[in-house]
Every structure is written in structure tokens, then in C-alpha cells.
């Protein structure tokens, strides 16, 4: 005990700096987790988290039995699924193609341009979409000029286009940036292997198939497992910014639903229950995916 106290005294300086950090993390990270218990109550804003009456799993049941449940789950999985289906291979293909470019200056130029959309806010992306896809926008004009349609289509106003627009925007925004990690993995492949392949005459396609892809296998698996672990994160700002009441049938996902009920309509406990359900499943998914990565591929993300 004495040595303990002496140690603390010696480290007093450090502990003094640490205390505000501990307070911060308790308040901003741990207390909200604890605040989730309102999902089991009928919480009244302004009261403490203990004064509400306990209702058990009533809010969860309400969510599962509501007609919204099916739509929201469908949208979340569809949007995430499309993101995984297109958003995961696209940067890999881009990286492989960039890797084949002979002119290094042109390669660097292309890469530089490809990162730009990643740094643009969703508000700006929404503005771009409003401009390009509006009734007097570029896409409608082209379609009419080429005689595909007679009347402009309201792309942003009709729900059936929403998933494609969102997936395209997501890929457009992230493809360049996400290719960086593949490119750096490609750069770390042993040159000698590639030379040996050339001598064996496997050709360029063969080099990609037998040397490049196996060489970055771990990176690919890791990123794809991470992607699957985040399947419930279907995006949030983009739905609010690009979607509209007329597209809600296709744009409402778990997070926007929580926002609608919790913040806009004030059903605190119900929103907390939906939120909690998502948080729990997300953690389980990440842990599960990590297990798979460890067991089959001997890599870990946690």
C-alpha cells in the first residue's frame, strides 16, 4: 500500500493531467452508454435516468411489430449491401488499373483528382446532385436530346431511383481514396516475384491474377470483413440530405428513423430502444467478423 502511495505521489504530475481526460471520457463516452437504460423506461426529458417507469422490452416490441420495421430493415440492408457490392471492388479495380499505368506523372495526376470527392461534404454532394439531376439538369437534358425520354424525370423526387443515386454517390466519393490502401499494398509486393513471373511468361493478366491479387490478399480480406461488420451503418447525412419526404419509402434507414422519432418527434425512449438494438447488433457483428478473420485468415482488426 505504501509503495502504491509513493508511486502515485511520484506520478502526481501525470495523474493531474490525466484526471480531466478521465472525466471527459466518463461524461462523453461512458455516461451516454449508461443513458441507454431509458430504452427500458418511459423517459420524460429533464428527469434523471432513474425516475421513469420501467416498461421492460415494450419499446423493442413496438418497433418489431410496427409496419416501419420491415421497410427500415430492407432499406438499411439494401443500401449497405449495394455499398458493399459496388463500393468494395471498385477501389480494388481502380488500384489495379492505376498500377498498370506506364506514365508515372499521369498516374499521380489521376490519383490526385480521384481523392478530391472524398474531402467534399455531403451537403456539397447534394448540391451537385440537385444541379445535375434536376428537371433542367444535365442528365435530363442529355436523355431528352438523345431521344430516350420526352419529359424530364424527377430523379430526386421518386423513391425508386434513390438507391442507385446513393450508391453512385458513395462510390464516386470514396473510390479514389479507398484505393490508396490497395496501392500501398501493391507497392510492397516483392519486385523479384514480378520479374520471375515475366520470365515465366505468365503475361500481364497472369501477373495480376497470380502475383498481385494473392500478394494483397490479406488487405482485401481485412477491408471486406470490416465492411461487412459495418453493414448496419448505411449512412446518415446522405439520406437526410439527398432524400426527401417523397423518397422516405426507400431512404429511411435505422439512423434516420432514430433521428426522426427521437429528435423531431420527441419519443425519447422508443428512439433509444431502436438505437440500442442497432448498437448491440453492430458490436456483435464486429466481434463476429473479427473472430472469422482470426480463425480463417489469421488477421485481426480489434
Amino acid at each position: 500500500m505504501n509503495t502504491w502511495r509513493r508511486r502515485i505521489a511520484k506520478e502526481r504530475q501525470i495523474w493531474i493531467m490525466t484526471v480531466p481526460m478521465i472525466v471527459w471520457v466518463l461524461v462523453f463516452s461512458y455516461y451516454p452508454m449508461y443513458g441507454m437504460i431509458i430504452a427500458f423506461q418511459n423517459y420524460v426529458p429533464g428527469n434523471s435516468f432513474f425516475s421513469g417507469d420501467w416498461v421492460g422490452f415494450a419499446h423493442f416490441e413496438r418497433f418489431f411489430n410496427s409496419p416501419d420495421f420491415g421497410t427500415i430493415m430492407r432499406n438499411t440492408f439494401a443500401i449497405s449491401g449495394l455499398n458493399i457490392l459496388f463500393g468494395l471492388p471498385a477501389p480494388l479495380i481502380l488500384a489495379l488499373l492505376l498500377n498498370e499505368l506506364k506514365n508515372k506523372a499521369f498516374k499521380r495526376f489521376t490519383q490526385t483528382l480521384s481523392y478530391i470527392p472524398y474531402f467534399i461534404s455531403w451537403v456539397v454532394v447534394a448540391s451537385i446532385l440537385f444541379t445535375l439531376l434536376g428537371s433542367d439538369g444535365l442528365l435530363n437534358k442529355l436523355l431528352i436530346d438523345f431521344g430516350f425520354i420526352r419529359e424530364p424525370i424527377s430523379f430526386l423526387g421518386e423513391g425508386k431511383y434513390f438507391w442507385s443515386i446513393l450508391t453512385t454517390s458513395n462510390v464516386w466519393k470514396d473510390v479514389g481514396f479507398n484505393s490508396i490502401i490497395y496501392l500501398s499494398a501493391l507497392a510492397s509486393i516483392d519486385r523479384e516475384q514480378i520479374e520471375a513471373g515475366k520470365v515465366d511468361g505468365i503475361g500481364r493478366f497472369g501477373t495480376v491474377w497470380h502475383i498481385y491479387l494473392p500478394g494483397i490478399r490479406t488487405t482485401i480480406i481485412l477491408l471486406w470483413i470490416l465492411g461487412l461488420g459495418g453493414i448496419l451503418n448505411a449512412g446518415f447525412e446522405q439520406q437526410l440530405l439527398i432524400g426527401s419526404p417523397t423518397t422516405a419509402e426507400y431512404s429511411e434507414v435505422i439512423d434516420t428513423y432514430v433521428y426522426k422519432y427521437g429528435v423531431q418527434l420527441g419519443y425519447y425512449s422508443f428512439a433509444a430502444a431502436v438505437n440500442l438494438m442497432k448498437a448491440v447488433v453492430s458490436v456483435l457483428l464486429v466481434i463476429g467478423m473479427n473472430r472469422i478473420a482470426k480463425k480463417f485468415f489469421d488477421t485481426s482488426i480489434l
Binding site: M17, F28, S121, S127
Partner: protein, 297 residues
């Protein structure tokens, strides 16, 4: 020998196709911005006819003139910049200090602190409980909500921490023997040697502060601290844009040639340009940041 040195016909066809593909790809990446730029520089009434692709048809700067006389826009610009500066510096210094402290060998709480923060990376309740907390703390409708809840970033802590780990311990030890306090060591030694990783982290922080929109809507409903992104969003909801033009046109009768379309385009350009301007200078840092991350991960 000759076989593998000389490119085959198929190989050359592929190279050409690849270059063509990349040119199209480049155009896709940059065209939306060029299109907006052209529209923003066009006469408003004329732009509403559509058909502007790459160059303005009837050059006019009134959209920008109006924007830069608009108090709301200028206020938004100011809050955005203030938020970027305060938010980035605060998070950088705080997270950096934490990263240093958990790397001090003789600090008995280093493992505890690491775990305490690391857990929050995977176990967080999502946005709603944090929203309730911030409402309960009375932080809504204040500037503090922009930097305080994001003061420590666990991912960046790990990044900076792994960078510090690769520095020779003797650097800090000799200062300690000279009697320097830990905060002094952080300030005088750690920060200077961490410039590369700090630069990378600050790029991401600054961009995310500049770009954030939702937390402004959520936590500052009063509109007093509206950032540029929020202002742009308002314009996107066309009605607002129209109303604003009508109000402004009463004030400035000469702006007859405006339309929501050009005003929106001009605002989008104003929101985007700061990022494009700093972009060439910071490119090497954010790529460095990814490499650092991948070494650790």
C-alpha cells in the same frame, strides 16, 4: 528473352484502353465541380434555361457579389473557420497529450488509460444517447458543442501513440533527468518531433470540422452558430433561396439577373474552394496518415 521485353499487341491495346478509361475517370471526378463553376459564373435568368456544361454562356459575377454582401453567408464563413481552427487545435493538443501520457514507461496508469479510451472505439451508443447528454448538459446553442464532445479521438490517439513509440526513449528520459516536467516535455519535445503525424491528423480533423453539417442542425437549432454548410443546405431547399433573392432584390435592385440556381452553385463553390486550395499542400500528409494507420493496423 525477347518475348517478355517486347509488349504484345494485346498489351498495347490494353494500355491505350487503360489511359482512355483513366481520362474518363478523371473527367467524372472533376466535372461536377467544373459544371457548378460554369453555372455560378453565368447570368441567372439565362442559366435557368439549362444547357451550360463547361463554360458560362453569359458571364456574370452577380451571384458572387450578392453572396459576399450577404451577412448570413459571411457569418457562416466566420463560424466555419473558427470551428475548424478551435476544433482542430483543441483535439490535436488534447489527443496528442493523451497519446504521450500512455507512452510514458513509468506511468502506472498507462494501460488503464489506454483501455479506458480504446473500449469507447467499439462500444459507443450511437448518436442518440450523446444527443440526450448534450441536451441535458445545456450545451445546445453554444459554440462549445463544436469542439468539446470531440476533444479526444481514440483512432488518432492510436496513430500518434504508435508514432511516439517509434521514437528513441532517451529523448524524453534525458529531459526528465534535467528536471523537466511531463507537460514541458510534451510541449518542447513531443510536439516538435510529432509534426508529421500531427500534420496528417490535423488534415482529417480540419476537413471533418469544415464539412460537418448534421451536428450543427442537431445542437444549434437557434441558427446563431450556423456554419457555411448549413447555409448552403438552406439554399438547397429552393423556397428559402427564392425568398432570400426576393428580399435581397428589394435591397439591391440591380441584381435582376439572379436565380436560385446560380446562387446555389456559387455557394457550393465557395464552400468547396477552401478545401481545393489547401488540398495540394496537404496531400502528402493525408497519404502519410493512411500509411501510418496501416503500419499499426
Amino acid at each position: 528473352m525477347r518475348d517478355y521485353l517486347k509488349p504484345t499487341l494485346g498489351s498495347r491495346v490494353f494500355d491505350t484502353a487503360n489511359v482512355v478509361f483513366m481520362l474518363v475517370f478523371c473527367a467524372l471526378m472533376i466535372y461536377p465541380f467544373l459544371n457548378l463553376l460554369a453555372i455560378s459564373l453565368n447570368d441567372g435568368v439565362d442559366a435557368a434555361r439549362g444547357g451550360i456544361y463547361l463554360f458560362p454562356r453569359k458571364l456574370s459575377f452577380s451571384a458572387y457579389e450578392l453572396l459576399f454582401q450577404n451577412k448570413k453567408m459571411l457569418n457562416g464563413f466566420m463560424w466555419s473557420i473558427l470551428r475548424v481552427v478551435v476544433g482542430t487545435v483543441a483535439c490535436l493538443l488534447a489527443t496528442g497529450l493523451l497519446a504521450y501520457l500512455v507512452n510514458i514507461r513509468h506511468f502506472s496508469g498507462r494501460k488503464f488509460m489506454r483501455i479506458l479510451f480504446f473500449i469507447t472505439m467499439y462500444f459507443n451508443g450511437g448518436f442518440f444517447p450523446v444527443y440526450l447528454l448534450i441536451v441535458n448538459l445545456g450545451l445546445t446553442n453554444s459554440f462549445h458543442v463544436y469542439w468539446l464532445p470531440a476533444l479526444f479521438n481514440v483512432y488518432f490517439m492510436l496513430l500518434i501513440s504508435s508514432y511516439i513509440q517509434n521514437q528513441p526513449d532517451a529523448l524524453f528520459e534525458s529531459a526528465r533527468i534535467d528536471g523537466a516536467g511531463e507537460f514541458r516535455i510534451y510541449w518542447k519535445i513531443v510536439i516538435p518531433i510529432c509534426v508529421p503525424v500531427f500534420a496528417a491528423v490535423s488534415v482529417y480533423l480540419a476537413v471533418s470540422h469544415w464539412n460537418s453539417w448534421f451536428d450543427v442542425v442537431l445542437y444549434n437549432p437557434s441558427g446563431k452558430f450556423d456554419t457555411l454548410q448549413v447555409y448552403l443546405r438552406r439554399l438547397l431547399l429552393e423556397m428559402e433561396g427564392l425568398q432570400q433573392i426576393r428580399d435581397q432584390q428589394v435591397l439591391y435592385n440591380r441584381y435582376r439577373d439572379l436565380s436560385p440556381l446560380t446562387l446555389r452553385a456559387a455557394t457550393t463553390i465557395v464552400v468547396t474552394v477552401p478545401i481545393l486550395l489547401v488540398y495540394p499542400f496537404v496531400q502528402k500528409y493525408f497519404i502519410g496518415g493512411i500509411m501510418l494507420g496501416s503500419v499499426k493496423g
